[in-house]
């Protein structure tokens, strides 16, 4: 049977197919060209390096769909829909080619046994998946999933495609007199339902099914780049151009930049092409919103909406070509409140199924606000303090190591004598009265372990991690320069930091002129000292604790095990919170949020949310943290949630000190 050798409304089938194909591909191609043109209006960014690594990353990320599986209920169904789609795309093109070029010496795909079997089996699996997807949307929609017409239409279309495949096989079995169908078991199963049809009639219906299938697919081809299902096309490229396998996560540098990005972007054309491209890949699945601590808290932010609004704005103003009267990108399209709500915790980016990069985009837009001076008073004060004194507390740099005086220790000055470890203490651990005692204990632990360490004393400056994420790139550069000048005057082999934010900046965002120095977090150093038998533990601690993964230690730098190993070595049982490791829920301090005031009413601060999660664990009286900002945020949250008597927030170093009896 050749479905093309028919007359369609009096016209030869081949001709009709050619006509439909040319129209469909023409529109599709034109639209794609249009969209590529839009993206090319963005600024240049080099995402064309490490092609092999990128290809491998894309192959894994797209073909195995690992991030789809981070939400269990939809993981397998999406996986099947995806693979069904891939198989169908191959078979469709095969069938189309064969139909358009009748002289090709190849059969139609459904005439080839294994292909027919594949189509048949997959059509049923996809139908089941669709049923799951529809049921999920109808009865148990996850939050932040937008039930758009677009989304339902696509499910219906896929349904029609699967059904036409299945029925084609069934009709063909009937047309062939109940014979055949060995490769289409489900078609054969369905065939008896149509046993009463005359074979010619069944053959005509089979042909009709083939045409239905082809017309729907061609229609879909036209529809695709006009809908959110553009993600089918765009996301593989998005994953390919994503920098996760190449650079540190959440890196804010623009590789190969030809423009100055210090002032960020005031309009969409000033974003990079990659940032503009991200909207095409977003499938509006809502993973980012569900993971976002700010969204959960009730702040005016949904990471997904930032991506979506940018895309819609770009399409509306870019395609219509109206430069006048367009709403401002910041203030009009995306509000200042949205941008400032982000804690840069990276939860969205580490969940995004298409590897979009929301945090750098948000920071890019913040840079514009900073360049306009549009920052909250409190943030402005902090930035002024950091510019002048090198710390956010507005205290003299000579007070930075004041905590040393009360510790009774003599700590080396790394600028005056060589040390193995340069301890970069950071602002909070140095100046915050709540943290000073912990810092002293850390110092005593290091001393008792015989660690050869020293400080930069007043030469240390804030490392600039939060400054950079607030969008004050120039100040970050300045702080980095000053620290690097101080490093140049000191002699050390490695750096140990207290604050994970500092750790991230020093490790990933400082240039070391080719002499890369190992940068370690104090939990790593304690873990190493333990492994080397250098931590003289005097007593076993007992009891159950839970550990909060700081964003900049966990998601940003993948350090999950060292702190847990230390806790277990102390004799403690580590009980995990439901959201742990890469799913850890941000305390709300990052990205400069610790300096900001809540100008809007929110439901529950991120730190309160997290403390309640910890408080819900049975028989766990202690939350262990490894970040001075967590001490500040969580101890405050203990008070506001009324969990103070029930739960204690303690730094890992405090527990080690307790076990060492120092």
């Amino acid at each position: 049977m050749n479905p093309v050798q028919v007359s369609v409304f009096g016209l030869p089938g081949v001709g009709v197919l050619w006509g439909l194909t040319l129209v469909a591909f023409g529109i599709f191609g034109w639209r794609c060209w249009q969209l590529i043109g839009l993206v090319r209006r963005g600024r240049f960014e080099n995402r064309f390096d490490h092609l092999g690594t990128r290809a491998w990353h894309a192959a894994k990320g797209v073909l195995l769909q690992p991030r789809i599986f981070n939400e269990r209920s939809i993981g397998l169904p999406h996986f099947l829909i995806f693979w069904g789609f891939v198989v169908y795309v191959v078979c469709f093109n095969w069938a189309l080619l064969r139909g358009l070029l009748p002289f090709l010496p190849i059969p139609f795909p459904d005439a080839v046994g294994p292909a027919a079997l594949f189509l048949d089996v997959f059509s049923v699996l996809v139908l089941i998946s669709l049923a799951v997807a529809v049921a999920r949307r109808l009865f148990a929609p996850p939050p932040h999933l937008h039930l758009s017409l677009d989304a339902n239409l696509i499910l219906a279309l896929i349904g029609v495609l699967m059904l036409s495949t299945l029925f084609l096989a069934a009709f063909r079995v009937v047309a062939e007199g109940g014979q055949g169908g060995a490769w289409t078991p489900f078609g054969r199963l369905l065939a008896p339902a149509f046993a009463s049809l005359a074979p010619e009639r069944a053959g005509a219906l089979a042909t009709a099914m083939w045409w239905t299938h082809m017309v729907v697919v061609l229609g879909f081809l036209v529809y695709l780049p006009y809908s959110k299902h553009l993600h089918l096309l765009a996301s593989p490229f998005n994953v390919f151009f994503n920098d996760a396998p190449i650079r540190p996560p959440g890196d804010l540098a623009i590789p190969g930049a030809k423009d100055d990005f210090t002032a960020g972007a005031s309009k969409w054309e000033e974003l990079t092409w990659k940032q503009l491209f991200s909207g095409f890949s977003c499938a509006e699945c809502g993973r980012c919103d569900r993971a976002c601590p700010a969204t959960t808290a009730g702040y005016a932010i949904e990471p997904q909406q930032i991506i979506q609004k940018l895309k819609k704005h770009m399409m509306a103003t870019g395609l219509a070509g109206n430069g006048d009267g367009r709403p401002a990108l910041i203030g009009g399209v995306i509000t200042e409140a949205e941008l400032w709500a982000c804690t840069t915790c990276l939860a969205c980016m580490s969940r995004c199924a298409v590897w979009n990069e929301q945090v750098p985009l948000i920071v890019m837009l913040r840079r514009q606000l900073v360049s306009q001076g549009a920052v909250q008073r409190t943030v402005q004060d902090m930035l002024a303090n950091l510019t002048r004194y090198g710390n956010s507390f507005g205290k003299s740099d000579r007070m930075r190591a004041r905590w040393v005086q009360a510790s009774g220790l003599k700590i080396k000055d790394a600028r005056k004598e060589p040390v193995e470890y340069l301890w970069f203490v950071g602002d909070y651990a140095s100046y915050d009265p709540r943290c000073e005692e912990i810092t002293r204990k850390t110092a005593k632990v290091f001393s008792q372990a015989g660690l050869d360490f020293g400080l930069l004393y007043e030469a240390e400056r804030n490392a600039g991690n939060d400054v950079r994420r607030v969008g004050e790139e120039g100040l970050f550069d300045m702080l980095r320069e000053k620290n690097q000048q101080a490093f140049a005057k000191a002699r050390f082999q490695a750096i140990v930091t207290t604050d994970p934010h500092t750790f991230n900046a020093l490790k990933n965002e400082y240039a070391w002129n080719g002499n890369r120095v190992p940068v370690k977090h104090y939990t790593e150093v304690l873990d190493e000292l333990l492994a080397a038998g250098r931590l003289p533990l005097k007593k076993k601690l007992a009891g159950r604790v839970t550990y909060h993964d700081p964003c900049y230690l966990g998601r940003y730098n993948g350090i999950y095990e060292p702190p847990r190993r230390v806790l277990r070595a102390l004799g403690l049982e580590v009980v995990e919170m439901p959201r742990t490791r890469e799913h850890s829920h941000c305390c709300g301090a990052g990205g400069g949020r610790i300096w900001m005031e809540d100008t809007e009413k929110i439901a529950e601060r991120p730190a309160e949310n997290r403390i309640r999660e910890a408080a819900a664990l049975a028989d766990v009286p202690t939350v262990v943290v490894a970040c001075p900002k967590d001490i500040a945020m969580f101890r405050d949250a203990l008070k506001t949630t009324g969990t103070e008597g029930k739960l204690a927030v303690r730094d890992l170093a405090e527990l080690v000190a307790e076990a060492m009896e120092v």
Binding site: T262, R377, A384
Partner: protein
């Protein structure tokens, strides 16, 4: 409008202040200078006036440590010219400072225009001999108002709001040219990103005014300076928060409260 903002550097009180060996000046060891707070507001007020009425802002300072940073910051914020008077401000009292500024205005090629406003900060933490703004107004024989917290310009005259106390303020009409000592601008001083300041350092120039240094550095017979004795230290209540709260409750009761 022709706006002149006078900036003055003062010792940063965040740093430890000590008296030098001569007993009459501050020990230079830990001394750092920063822009006088009200002067920052004066600049902001000038920027607001320029935004509304147009014109030029000339920022004038004496030479002092870290003064270039302040001048470049002013330029980055939107000042048009920055002029430095080559006299060491740290050695001068406020009267000598005012005289130096007066010399600057006397040396201008043309007399002050009818739309000129001189905006110094209202006062500074080292104003032992009096305020620069008021003394300058006397020297230039110009109308003066101090503790100003808002300026609007209409038809060649300005309306300035002065702060009294208890939230009470007064509105005054001031003919131009005039000297207004600014306590606070209508809006908090704007933030200027470091990148813009650095760009100003590369692109802009600080002019030097050729002015003879003023006469005696100080008008007052300063006997000596010293650090205050820590006196009347509070009785510290110590213990767990619970105990402290209980103690405070007792103290309150002793004073007939609660």
């Amino acid at each position: 409008m022709n706006l002149y903002v006078l900036l003055k550097m003062v010792p940063d009180t965040v740093e430890e202040l000590n008296v030098a060996g001569d007993n009459r000046s501050l020990d230079a060891e830990y001394l750092r200078f920063k822009l006088n707070d009200p002067d920052e507001h004066a600049l902001e007020q000038a920027l607001l006036l320029k935004e509304k009425h147009g014109g030029t802002i000339t920022v004038v300072t004496l030479d002092a440590p870290e003064v270039d940073d302040a001048l470049f910051t002013a330029l980055a914020k939107g000042a048009d010219r920055a002029v430095k008077i080559p006299a060491d401000q740290a050695a001068l009292g406020t009267i000598a400072t005012a005289k130096a500024f007066a010399a600057f205005f006397a040396a201008l090629p043309a007399p002050l225009a009818a739309d000129a406003l001189i905006l110094p900060g209202s006062q500074a933490v080292d104003d032992l001999e009096g305020e620069v703004a008021a003394y300058l107004a006397e020297l230039l024989k110009l109308p003066y108002l101090g503790v100003v917290c808002g300026v609007t310009a209409v038809d060649g005259k300005v309306t300035a709001v002065k702060e009294f106390s208890g939230g009470l303020r007064g509105r005054f009409e001031v003919p131009m040219p005039a000297v207004l000592g600014i306590q606070s601008a209508e809006k908090p001083p704007r933030y200027v990103p470091v990148a813009k300041v650095r760009a100003a350092m590369k692109a802009a120039k600080i002019e030097t005014a050729a002015i003879e240094p003023p006469g005696p550095a100080r008008a007052l017979d300063l006997d000596h300076m010293y650090k205050p004795e820590p006196t009347g230290r509070a009785r510290m209540l110590e213990g767990a928060p619970e105990e402290v709260a209980a103690r405070i409750t007792e103290v309150l009761a002793e004073h007939g409260v609660a």
